[in-house]
Amino acid sequence: MSDTTLVTRILFQDFSSWSITLFYLLGYTAIGIFAHGVYTQVRKYRRGRPLDIGAWRQRAVTMVQDMLTHRTLVRRDRKAGRAHALIFFGFALLFIGTATITLEYDILQPLFGWRFWHSEFYLWFSLVLDIAGAGLIAGVLYMMYRRQWLKLPKLDYARPDRSPQDPDYDRSAYRREDWAFLWALILIGITGFVLEATRLVWLSGQPTVWDLRFWSPVGAVMAHAMQWFGLSPEGAGLFRSGLWWFHGLLALTFIALIPYSKIKHIVTAPTSLMLRDPLAGRRLPKVPEEQASAGYQYITDFKWKELLHLDACTKCGRCHEACPANAVGAPLSPRDVILSLREFANQSLNAVTLPEKAELDVHGKAPGQVFMETLWSCRTCLACVEICPVAVEHVPIIVQMRRKLVEDGNMEPLLEKTLQTIHKTGNSFGESKRKRAAWTKELPFTIKDARKEAVDMLWFVGDYASFDPRNQKVTRAFARLMHQAGVDFGLLFEGEMNAGNDVRRVGEEGLYEYLATANITSIRDCEFKSVVTTDPHSYNTIRNEYPDFGGEFEIQHYTTVVRELLLQGRLRLSKTLGYRVTFHDPCHLGRYNKGFDAPRDILQMLGCELVEMGRNRDNSFCCGAGGGRIWIPDAPGTEKPSQNRMHEAGAIEGLQVFVVSCPKDLTMFEDALKTSGYEGKFVVRELIELIEECVEYDESPALSVEV
């Protein structure tokens, strides 16, 4: 074996020239079909609104990291993530391998006479690709098993937002596509190995092939098996040519169909990851001044990036599973919103010319359109956005569509009333502005008016903490804590208005602009170092959204402030509690702003035994109040998300206190405690109340916070 260049695979070995030509013709056809598909898809995206992306390099780096680590895919489904990794890396290596061969055979060799696909390189190449192929098959096998036998609810395509009579209820086409995809992959893999094995049997007389067969271990084992069954080299040669065409045609069909099928996600998913907005949902998009209508009515109102996100969804169902609205049987699944819109976009935007405006309307009851009830069911809890492995951003889309509903007055009468009330009085309780700080009257000390004198900390109280009688007690307790710690703090008094977080998530952008600018003006006129709030909703919008309106303020949620005060010894504890507690992460503190640790640290300092619920931290389950749903009554007879959550907590053995750190949570869960039958079993408390129980007060003993 002196000439090592003989150690290679001869392409098209023993093929007649017409069959090689035929293969190339088919190959070019496949590429043509593929290119046409890519063109139509790009044209579809370009029919969306323009958008400046920027920072491409950083985006690409993050995307590559996402792909290599598979970090978004292993979350909450490690096995599926790993199986995907096998398929992904297997497929990628096989693709690179094939591309390498093409590079030599079709480009470098004919043009420059260069050859490198032989000798040692070839052997390693064979080995690596064999392993890749085996990985691919193993991964696909697991996926098949998962789909067929695990019966995962998230892979059930039953739609909560449609009834079986609706023409677009049936999702069996997706199921067929899923299976076709898996079968195509596994068949390409298996036939590849069989081909490899038959080639070995066929050429078993050639030492450059046969002696090195174990560099293709899978193929070699199969070749031995074939021989054992009595396959002769001639028989193998014959079988091979038939199989070769099958394998080749399958692979070419696969390539041709990429832009037209689920396979598309091998391109759209990474692109979508690259287009990810780290603040998606946390900071909703502004409406450009010159834009006549506020939200999305037509599919062409979507930004091109959003149209692409729609195509990235792989129906993995993670968002479907995480969605609190879906969990309680509301007619909403974030997955189905995305799929509906995708179907709609494919229906209307793939043609050469755009259809009539009326046919581009995404609102309504026709196939592909999104129902009003669906949009109003969303609690903007961000669970969907947070878990989506391919960076689909559902919430901005849902809110943009709601903006249109609001503009047309398509909303619950009660919500409409609340919005009008907020406009008129600046708060959702319809109380007079003058009364905003009425809760301070019962305090034994006066709180500074930050509008009149400089303070260290400006306390933005928020509506619920200001007006709701139950929450007022907590608000006063926090004031006593700050006072005890000697914090120099003040309020805006009647200068404060509803922060607008939920108004914005409802989709009343004009009202939000009004509230935000008014608050920013009031805050700006004060002299202070940082802002503090007990309300995660206000916290989110001031932190993430006010900057877009010129209000850059440093803001902290009270949990970080109190932790600091405790650590510095400015607040001392006179006792610890030893309660068995669980903690509910408020969406706007936890998932929205990653404030997971401060409340837990405080609970630990208080000596509480924290038992986590199954859904905690980033997977926390919304209380149901978000996105303005606190102003929309839940349909009678249906389970509320807060009740669902109570059952989760109720399952904890010996639970004493269900701890929250958000005014709306306190209201929602105290109510749910009663309605779901846990009254007397455990209590709902704001973390501040537990702190208050332990803190050592110098002067006036803490007024008891009876509840």
Binding site: A294, E407, G409, E416, K424, E431, S432, G510, L511
Partner: protein
């Protein structure tokens, strides 16, 4: 074809409020202004007629009498789709009552010559329920009050309406047009004026008319011409209920005593 919708900016009271020093009204500091609730409905009714007709066939004009702050309410009407808004004011109009306001509005109607005039049944602050009818009286036009249903084709010579009577009765009426109708709550579902809509309506002009534009003079409006004048405004002292105890005879005697005391007779 035009429809004139007469609207009013009404005042709502804060929880704790004070009466003005002159004792004639509530201190302005404690008032919150908004468009009268009834007017949301009458404007909506006009908008429905406009939207059902061919584009540009119906022009909806919102008209109000009042000082500058009233522009805000008119802007809301524009945001909901009114084509034009007219605010009529002159310092001489201060102190006008329902009848003089009706006269002023009738002046606008004469100028605009609409096919229909809508007003709310009443305003939520003064509750006279008279302005709409006063317009009709000044114009000497057909009129119907407390309309709960309206069937009207733009340009038609008559309209069919149903009026709400006491005891849940409806009275079906056919009325010659042009006419003045006061519309009742619930006749339709008023649309929501989004804040963006209101903001964008700020770009639409509000026409400001004065006495001269209406061919009226100062003696026909304001306190001088008003048929009624506010003399005093007061918060009634809340009486306390008192249980009269004792036998039937004792109770009767006590009652007689109280009645006599009220009538000013000596016990």
């Amino acid at each position: 074809m035009k429809i004139v919708v007469a609207v009013k900016q009404v005042a709502a009271l804060d929880d704790d409020f004070e009466i003005r020093a002159d004792g004639l009204d509530v201190d302005e500091d404690f008032l919150m202004y908004d468009l009268n609730e009834w007017d949301d409905y009458s404007l909506e009714e006009a908008m429905k007629i406009k939207e059902a007709a061919a584009e540009g066939a119906v022009e909806v004009i919102a008209v109000s009498v009042g000082p500058e702050r009233v522009d805000e309410s008119l802007r809301k009407c524009l945001a909901k789709g009114a084509d034009r808004a007219i605010r009529v004011w002159d310092d001489a109009m201060e102190g006008s009552d329902a009848v003089t306001i009706g006269r002023i509005l009738a002046g606008v109607v004469k100028k605009e010559a609409p096919a229909m005039v809508f007003a709310g049944v009443q305003s939520s602050d003064q509750a006279n329920a008279a302005t709409g009818m006063a317009i009709a009286a000044s114009l000497d036009w057909p009129h119907a009050a407390v309309v709960a249903e309206l069937d009207y084709q733009p340009g038609a010579a008559t309209a069919r309406i149903k009026r709400e009577l006491e005891g849940g009765m409806l009275q079906a009426v056919e009325i010659d047009c042009p006419a003045v109708l006061t519309l009742q709550l619930g006749i339709n579902k008023p649309r929501y004026a989004s804040l963006r809509g209101i903001k964008q309506a700020a770009a639409k002009p509000i026409e400001h008319w004065s006495l001269g534009d209406l061919g009226l003079d100062a003696t026909q409006v304001g306190t001088t011409a008003a048929l009624s004048r506010v003399r005093r405004m007061e918060i009634p002292v809340k009486g306390r209920a008192q249980m009269i105890e004792g036998t039937i005879a004792e109770q009767a005697a006590k009652l007689i005593e109280i009645i006599k005391e009220y009538k000013g007779e000596a016990a």
